[in-house]
């Protein structure tokens, strides 16, 4: 399904907890402890609910998030909608922090991918206020409220903010994304020398974290599923420009890239470059490969 859906507003509510029941009888002290804990929890939730509502009145210390919800499995979530969350703000808080807070405090079914929370695992690319961004490195303070959080556009939504990445991975793997030197130096302890200049040339392309933001932002990649897309082409660039691979290999790489669904589909709109959280000059890399493709083909014309 597409994420372009009519918006229906619903207020989220935290459910009031009831007294926890036990199958086995507990020791009196333990019973008392459990009872107190249940009371404390009910108090806490009541307070959280009250505070969230109060803050919604326009308190500066709260951020208002509108989060996309959808779950094909669960009745009531099958119709896509946006839920509102009011999250207490602390300096330095990111979109990911806010989502984690909302999940752990208000609704444990709120689903999104995340792991390293330091912009290197690439799992939390989201569509925030109309732009592809990594949740973990996007400061709430840089965003207008309400902060609208949606899954990456142009991808199948599995649930809430989680999209199917299979197509992205398939494209990445279609460019034969592995190093393939003509020959290795003699001796297992000998290095293949690489100049600093050459390492510098491929450096930015090696920074890709496979987050999928670029693919999601690219109109062309959205229009047809066959286009390799910026991430995969950048991956090919990383190897094609590495001086340690030989000419034949480079030609083979260019052959893959200059096919119908390769570099020529790029219309230089720069949207991939704009959203890349690792600042990789994707569009430039694609153009450079177009040039290489022309140069190499001219030899045979």
């Amino acid at each position: 399904m597409s994420t372009q859906v009519p918006e229906t507003e619903t207020e989220t509510e935290t459910e009031a907890e009831t007294e926890v029941e036990h199958d086995e009888p507990l020791a009196p002290a333990q019973e008392e402890r459990m009872r107190k804990k249940a009371e404390a929890r009910a108090d806490r939730e009541e307070r959280a609910r009250r505070e969230a509502a109060e803050r919604a009145e326009g308190d500066d210390d709260t951020y208002h998030l509108k989060v996309f919800r959808f779950d094909p499995e669960v009745e009531g979530k099958q119709e896509p909608r946006f839920d509102d969350f009011h999250v207490p703000y602390e300096k330095g808080m990111t979109v990911l922090d806010a989502l984690i807070y909302a999940r752990d405090t208000f609704d444990s079914s709120l689903t999104f991918r995340h792991s390293c929370r330091q912009a290197i695992c690439g799992s939390d690319a989201l569509f925030v206020n109309g732009r592809q961004r990594l949740g973990c490195k996007t400061q709430l303070s840089d965003l207008d409220q309400p902060v609208r959080v949606e899954p990456l556009p142009h991808a199948e939504v599995e649930k809430d903010l989680v999209v199917d990445m299979d197509h992205f991975y398939d494209q990445m793997e279609a460019v034969e994304p592995y190093f393939d030197a003509d020959e290795l130096p003699d001796g297992e302890l000998e290095e293949q020398r690489q100049t600093r200049e050459n390492r510098e040339k491929v450096k930015m392309s090696t920074r890709c974290i496979w987050c999928g933001a670029c693919m999601s932002s690219c109109n062309i990649a959205a229009g047809t599923n066959e286009y390799l897309g910026p991430a995969a082409i950048n991956k090919a660039y990383r190897f094609a420009m590495d001086e340690r691979e030989g000419e034949d290999r480079k030609q083979h790489r260019l052959n893959i890239l200059e096919q119908e669904n390769g570099v020529w589909r790029c219309q230089t709109q720069f949207s991939c470059t704009e959203v890349c959280p690792k600042d990789i000059p994707l569009t430039e890399h694609i153009q450079e490969l177009k040039r290489e493709a022309v140069k190499s083909n001219l030899k045979f014309w």
């Binding site: 009831t18 926890v20 036990h22 333990q30 402890r33 459990m34 804990k37 929890r41 779950d71 094909p72 499995e73 669960v74 330095g92 999940r103 752990d104 405090t105 609704d107 444990s108 079914s109 689903t111 999104f112 995340h114 792991s115 390293c116 929370r117 330091q118 912009a119 290197i120 695992c121 690439g122 799992s123 490195k137 400061q139 599995e158 649930k159 989680v162 990445m165 994304p177 592995y178 190093f179 393939d180 030197a181 290795l184 297992e188 302890l189 000998e190 290095e191 293949q192 020398r193 690489q194 100049t195 600093r196 390492r199 450096k203 090696t206 920074r207 974290i209 190897f239 590495d242 340690r244």
Partner: protein, 617 residues
């Protein structure tokens, strides 16, 4: 049910290397991982990878530094294996195209790191782990190795003979996160656990959210001893707000630590007069917290790490990633201002007991990487020694599981040979809440051993699946109770408060009480999200169980070890006591009640014996 010769659990550095090695030995191998491989936490490693590559350096020197850094709690056969194998393995990565930083002559660059007598830390900017992870994943794609990504392995299929040494692992049980399908994975040759760190036991950690120590906890409950769990490394430079790591490379390149008074305290207050900022991580972490505790911290919380004097060119060339991290997560421009840093949980030196071939005492069960303890890091890991560990022991485990003869291991595993039974005075009964063999429900029950009796490996895996299905079902069917997030955060806070850089007896006991209380509450845990699709509520609930068992193991070990060694500092015991404590802390689950025992450290290397020396600075 799926079936392969070798099943690797986890797809970080150790898992990928193991899979490649197993396939090279002709095995049909598959990786099962709760994340897609490129999302693994190895990608967050920054500083570098130690290997003796240059003239003037030698594997023997690397081994000596590692043993000294470990505060003589590493086992010589494991350390020597690490140091002998790592040059070849690092060059193997180079041959696979890894984008290492380069010298003028085109060879890979190396830099100084804490505790090293030679600048032997090979690196790729300050993103070495990212480059390593992606390079290895590329090789995996090249070889067409099967990956079951976003499958959560929640249990091992191990037989239940009385002695763990007689048990066999036949596979794993995994939950397809996307579909909610629970399935068996039978391994005819071996299962390799490469599940990484357990930083989520603490609330301020450099580790990813996924690092919940699943492999260690599963192996522990299956009867495999876990070793030296009390030794947790706190990295001296993590960002105060998030725990994001600021590489030791900053200090390696000449970065300086200052307190609130602008004093270079490592020298000024004599924490390490010879090595300054490049003293071992445990020393620097204690120095920083001492400054804060004595009122010389900034905002009563952190100190400053300054790299401005290195100059923009050098910073961009070698530490560019650090500029981005400081900017994105702390709003600080490292070229213009010093960066705020404080110690954060970083690495678990302990883990699943293995020998130098990655084998555990349970037949067919291997472990490698951070989840394993061979042991190479002893009580304090040197910076730059985690990445070589991944590839060296990942490769050995993979090759061995696939049938390659690596020679007889010198390290013994399980309760064999010489060992000593330990005792510790605990304020609460550690272990499962319900007594072993009692009326324990599927949620609280941790034992994983499937029933034996007639039947082959296939049946053992089937039974483990059935059992796990019941556990998951009971969690899902409950419609009220306690949520995992509450239990998890309480334990994390207690661990950070009481089992941190500085430890004292009373605090350790408090932590054990808190953990016991959390176990009680875990009996009432429930999964609120009824969905079978991508149910992270369920996954995190299962993970929280692992956090509980590991928090307890760490704290028990720490309480029992009444000495000061490496990263383990005890208020009441300020001396390293070699006469009594040159031994590994071992913990066996024993059907739910942890049993403490000890095994002597092996200081006997191939050609020499490592003589414990006083640590002086």
């Amino acid at each position: 049910m799926y079936e392969h010769d070798v099943i690797v659990v986890g797809a970080g550095g150790a898992g990928l290397r193991a899979a490649i090695a197993a396939q090279e030995e002709g095995a049909d191998v598959a990786i099962v991982s709760k994340l897609h491989p490129v999302r693994s936490h190895t990608g967050a490693a920054e500083g570098g990878i130690n290997a003796a590559l240059r003239e003037g350096d030698s594997w023997e020197d690397h081994a000596y530094d590692t043993m000294k850094g470990s505060d003589y709690l590493g086992d010589a056969p494991a350390i020597e294996t690490l140091c002998k194998d790592s040059p070849k393995e690092v060059i193997q990565l180079e041959h696979w195209g890894m984008a290492f930083s380069r010298e003028e002559d085109g060879r890979v660059s190396q830099r100084p790191f804490g505790g090293l007598s030679f600048p032997r830390t090979t690196y790729a900017g300050a993103e070495t782990g990212h480059q390593l992870l992606h390079t290895m994943y590329e090789q995996l794609v090249k070889r067409g190795i099967t990956v079951y990504d976003e499958w959560y392995v929640s249990d091992l299929a191990v037989t239940d003979e009385e002695r763990p040494e007689d048990r066999t692992c036949h596979g794993v049980v995994a939950y397809d996160i996307q579909s909610g399908e629970l399935s068996g994975f039978r391994a005819t040759e071996g299962v390799i656990l490469a599940t990484g760190g357990l930083g989520q036991v603490f609330d301020h950690t450099t580790n990813a959210v996924a690092n919940t120590g699943d492999g260690v906890a599963m192996a522990y409950r299956a009867g495999v001893p876990i070793e030296d769990m009390e030794f947790i490394q706190f990295h001296p430079t993590s960002l105060p707000s998030t725990g994001v790591l600021i590489s030791e490379g900053v200090r390696g390149e000449g970065g300086i630590l200052y307190n609130a008074e602008g004093e270079r305290f490592m020298f000024e207050y004599g924490y390490a007069s010879n090595d300054g900022e490049l003293a071992s991580r445990d020393v620097v972490a204690r120095a920083e917290l001492s400054e804060v505790n004595e009122g010389r911290g900034i905002d009563d919380e952190y100190v400053h790490l300054d790299m401005r004097h290195l100059g923009e060119e050098r910073i961009i060339d070698r530490l560019e990633n650090i500029l981005h991290l400081a900017k994105d997560f702390e709003g600080v421009d490292g070229l213009e201002e010093p960066m705020p840093v404080k110690p954060g949980q970083h690495y678990a030196m302990g883990g699943i007991e293995t020998d130098e071939n990655g084998e555990t005492c349970v037949g067919g069960l291997y472990a490698a990487g951070e989840c394993a303890c061979a042991s190479v890091h002893g009580s304090n890991r040197l910076g730059g020694n985690a990445l070589p560990e991944l590839i060296v022991f990942g490769k050995r485990a993979g090759a061995h599981a696939a049938g390659k003869d690596l020679g007889t291991a010198e390290i013994e595993t399980g309760q064999r040979g010489e060992y000593e039974v330990g005792e510790v005075d605990t304020p609460v009964q550690p272990g499962e809440v319900e007594p072993a063999g009692g009326e324990s429900d599927a949620v609280a029950d941790g034992g994983v051993a499937a029933e034996t009796g007639s039947g082959d490996g296939h049946d053992i895996v089937e039974r483990a699946v059935t059992r796990e299905r019941e556990r998951v079902q009971s969690l899902m069917e409950k419609d009220e109770g306690v949520q995992h997030a509450e239990i998890r955060s309480d334990v994390q806070e207690s661990m950070t408060r009481y089992v941190n850089v500085f430890r004292e007896e009373e605090g350790l006991k408090r932590a054990l009480e808190d953990i016991a209380e959390a176990r009680e509450r875990y009996r009432d845990v429930f999964v609120k999200d009824p969905s079978r699709t991508f149910n992270t509520d369920l996954i995190q609930t299962l993970e929280t169980r692992n956090i509980l068992d590991l928090a307890e193991a760490i704290t028990l070990g720490a309480l029992a070890r009444d000495e000061f060694r490496g990263a383990h500092w005890r208020a009441e015991h300020q001396e390293r006591r070699d006469d009594e404590w040159l031994k590994h802390t071992m913990l066996s689950w024993n059907d739910g009640s942890p049993e403490l025992w000890y095994r002597p450290v092996i200081l006997e290397g191939e050609d020499k014996e490592y003589e414990p020396k006083i640590r002086s600075y």
